[in-house]
Symmetry: C2
Subunit: 334 residues, 2 copies
């Protein structure tokens, strides 16, 4: 992938921060790659970046417009098309994580060809993957897994990668979703891979490496999710993690948007992961539990983490709040 | 799918019965749909059907040429193209289970357009599936699962469907692979679905039905397969089986073509399936074990089946050898 930086982050007329999570993730984790934000009339979200239109953004050095909105269904909205055409005319490439391919919109294909711009669909790998082999690769791998979607697997992997590097370890974040790819500039949107090649794509994502190098792999979905567990299992088998970190939102009792599907006790979730992970790495183990404690004050967060440490015998931390050095030490010492 | 029958089964110059398994499966399970076979010079496989070229096949009533060869990789071989063009010219449609799309071969696309013939790629659904919901559907479902690929999940499902119907039950075979689709005329090649929509595709395959109707669903891959387990899990979660039947080849000790990956004890395989299946159907259970005993004489087969019945407490049978009426009775009585 040959994405030119920095980005102008396009927010359209989005009104909920939740729907702007792609732009938010890139701003949080790669602020130096963000030249500004472009908000259409009605937009109620502010990423705290300079407000620029495409012409001003190009003058400020921006190279690519990034679609920072993640609407349900992943379709490019018709009302965005004139804005996207204007961006191409101003000199920007476009980077999209939508299911709809940019070039499938005739106006965008024509404008990109006319102005010599690139259209990047990071959700589509545009390459074939092999079937998974299950063969062991050199190097160490850590995979974040979760009790549900959208509860911190990407942020935990990014925070751990920083902490590994800060502690002097060789470590690489491996993105498996569109926002992670936009942040890191590489990776595979694993949920868009044809089912037969899921484990093979995961194997390709973290190739053989130096024996003391850590790939920190962004998890997807959940093994206990009624809709997405297959994605999680293919990623697990192909990643062959030495260490897993379980991500959990302590106030979430049911799978989001799946009423009646209770999140099982964490001990059961851990056992299920170990049973399946050991099929491709007999030494797979858990290295910690990451809890999102953002709704709690410091004292309550500390109590919650200590309680989970006692119960599960694993380091428990909030990736955005805790000192991660002890977690890194515990994971890498074994 | 609007496939016109009967078929002329194209065998190319195949020399191994194993590589002709698509043609063999259709001959075994839908002989009335097979007008003849077409073998090119060098072909060493004989399905026991009349040898016909396309012109003779059309005269005998054939409507579609079915590619009965399943080469590794699933590509259309260049040396087949003149033969396939001749079939289109003679008046036949073409039915293929290859990964390569028929219309991606320019000569085939042009000949089909010129003569008004249809090109059917049964491996590609050419429709979008929803994300799995996990919602309960009316009707009963039986899914064949296995300890590996290619050991009888399709034949077991087909044999059970016949036995269910023979016993007076309403039952429908649901194909999940290309050969099954060619046999039954419908279904979804589940391994070709984009990962995000696997469970949703499986839900679409066996829609709500009468409370006493049984969908007998063809399993794919294996939950203990290092390359394909994700396909199996998406199919399992979306199928929400009330009953599973475990298919096993008793002489197979390792996953085929995956040396070092031992097939676990059947008790472990059963427990793993139950733990995962109960996420979308809390009442999921095993209804029996199907063993391929073709390498054994009658007495040895009987001993093997009796030994497995004692050990696992489930009806054990060979789908091509045993009387299946007791199995159907046991499955449907509960």
């Amino acid at each position: 992938m040959d994405i030119r930086l920095p980005y102008l982050i396009f927010l359209g007329a989005v009104v909920s921060v939740r729907d702007a999570k792609t732009g938010l993730g890139v701003r949080d984790w790669r602020p130096e790659a963000c030249a500004g934000q472009w908000r259409l009339p009605g937009c109620a979200v502010d990423l705290g970046l300079p407000d620029l239109d495409p012409v001003a953004a190009v003058a400020a050095g921006a190279q690519s417009l990034l679609i920072g909105v993640a609407p349900v269904g992943g379709q490019i909205r018709p009302e965005w098309v004139p804005a996207l055409v204007a961006a191409l005319e101003a000199g920007l490439d476009i980077v999209s994580g939508m299911h709809t391919r940019l070039a499938s919109v005739p106006e965008l294909a024509q404008a990109a060809a006319r102005h010599g711009r690139h259209l990047h669909d990071v959700r589509h790998a545009d390459r074939r993957f092999p079937v998974g082999t299950g063969e062991k690769r050199s190097g160490k791998r850590l995979l974040t897994v979760g009790t549900d979607c959208a509860l911190g697997k990407k942020y935990t992997a990014l925070a751990l990668t920083r902490a590994f590097v800060a502690a002097g370890h060789k470590a690489t974040f491996r993105a498996t979703g569109q926002t992670g790819i936009m942040i890191s500039g590489g990776g595979i949107a694993i949920d868009a891979v044809v089912a037969d090649f899921l484990a093979g794509a995961a194997e390709s994502l973290s190739p053989a490496n130096a024996p003391d190098h850590w790939d920190i792999i962004e998890g997807q979905g959940s093994l206990v999710h009624p809709g997405y567990a297959a994605v999680s299992l293919g990623l697990l088998h192909g990643s062959q993690p030495d260490v897993m970190v379980l991500c959990h939102e302590p106030h979430r009792l049911e799978i989001d948007e799946y009423p009646g599907f209770a999140i099982p006790p964490l001990g059961e979730v851990i056992d299920l992961h170990l049973a399946l992970a050991r099929r491709t790495n007999a030494a797979a183990r858990f290295g910690g539990i990451a809890l999102n404690t953002s709704a709690l004050d410091d004292a309550a967060a500390a109590r919650l983490l200590a309680g989970h440490e006692d119960r599960y015998g694993l380091p428990c931390f909030d990736p955005l709040r805790s000192d991660l050095a002890p977690v890194v030490a515990a994971v890498t010492e074994l």
